[in-house]
Amino acid sequence: MNHPQKKKQNKMRLTLPLEEYMHSGHLACQGCGATLAMRYVLKALGQRTALCIPACCWSVIDGPFPYSSLDVPIFHCAFETAAISAAGLKAGLEMVGDHETQVVAWAGDGGTFDIGIQALSGVAERNDDIIYVCYDNEAYMNTGIQRSSATPFGAWTTTTPVKHYKNRPKKDIDAILAAHRIPYVATANISYPEDLYRKVLKAKNIKGTRFIHIYAPCPSGWKTRPEDTIKLGKLAVQTCIFPLFEVEEGSTWKINIKPREKKPVEEYLMRQGRFRHLTAEAIALIQEEVDRRWARLLKYEETSPL
């Protein structure tokens, strides 16, 4: 290794703690965003954390029995049960005298927006004391790229072939959770790790149900270049396709990043194989919807507390 001992010995400027609770050797694809999401979240939560992971890419990424890539305990739970498994686990830990461990449900978009929404809604209604993290790669990736209700309008997946591309907008899970009036809802993005880290820390210090929705690009499923993962995350925010915001008690909305100039969605879409078939008209439709959602968000913030 050609280590430049000669250069003057500045400190590395790290914006996140050095501690790692996720280790190498895991089974994610090259350039996987979901993996970064885990890495950052655990940096914020630390070792006294327990995860409930339903079926999703992460149930593979972590590694097969008898291995695990993480330094925290995991309950690999049934697909539809992330939230309630966590709530059950929390209750159990409390009853055996552990009042400290932060219990986290860690699920993909399918496990959150679709098959897991009922358990999540139940937990939110009871305000059970867990953090729910949804890492959103916008399709069922672990089973090979099928549409979920998080899949955006226009996208190709294996169940929405280009001739029948997804023709419904992405389900607005954040608004749905906000409507549950839980103490904390936030969106985050692996391309903004400091913001993500801050939000998880904030969530950690709140009691009740906290929901964090993390944008996590998936090169394999989106047909993008692995090295574009961070770029895509930034574009998602700059185009306002995936705005960063927080909602407290379902009523106080705060947008964290407002791009000075919104980039056109096309810039975002055209980097991705899953959108390559889109016509100019379809892209215009998407732009419209993005604008509408952004305007709505601005209004929410403006009229807060709602």
Partner: protein
């Protein structure tokens, strides 16, 4: 019965190669069974595919442990894993490489054939330098070395079996069929 194991990397179309080969065999009126490794595939990670060929219907549904021949789509795998595991004596090892068979250090109980599928693929505009799509070329070479089917069947199977660029793929298969280096 002939049993072949394919070695490749996730993303290289290893399973498609075995499927196209099966299609070609089917066109010959023979019986065939092909299957991928039963697991999680990740781009770059080593993957396997298997094929059984026979003159009569195939009832054996167990996995192949002692293949008659092996096919290696990515030469770096030779370092990474033991590609010859279970390979029967006198079995062919068909490798995608720019080397000649004798330049490869396989035990002499095996027979070795080589084909520069990467070169052929790139020549026919299949994939990029970093990730050339070599699977159709490989099929051409395999069919030739093992004398499994007529070239027409292979070309037809390739054309029907690839998602894009049927002509280019067919040309690659043909070229490989014709240029594979082996001494039987």
């Amino acid at each position: 019965m002939v049993e072949i194991r394919f070695h490749g990397r996730g993303g290289q179309g290893t399973v498609v190669a075995s499927k196209i080969l099966a299609d070609a065999i089917n066109k010959e009126g023979k019986f065939v069974q092909a299957y991928p490794e039963f697991g999680v595939e990740r781009r770059g990670a080593p993957v396997y595919a298997f094929i059984r060929i026979d003159e009569t219907p195939i009832f054996d549904k167990s996995r192949i442990y002692s293949p008659d021949h092996i096919v290696v789509l990515d030469p770096t795998l030779i370092e990474a894993i033991d590609v010859t595991e279970g390979l029967k004596e006198k079995g062919w090892i068909i490798v995608n490489t720019d080397k000649k068979p004798e330049e490869l250090a396989f035990p002499t109980k095996y027979r070795v054939a080589t084909i520069d599928a990467t070169h052929i693929a790139l020549k026919h505009q299949l994939g990029t330098r970093a990730t050339p799509i070599v699977n159709t070329a490989i099929v051409g070479a395999v069919v030739k070395v093992l004398d499994l089917a007529r070239l027409e069947s292979v070309i037809q199977a390739v054309k029907e079996g690839v998602p894009l660029k049927p002509e280019e793929n067919a040309a690659a298969a043909k070229e490989a069929y014709e240029s594979v280096v082996f001494h039987s």
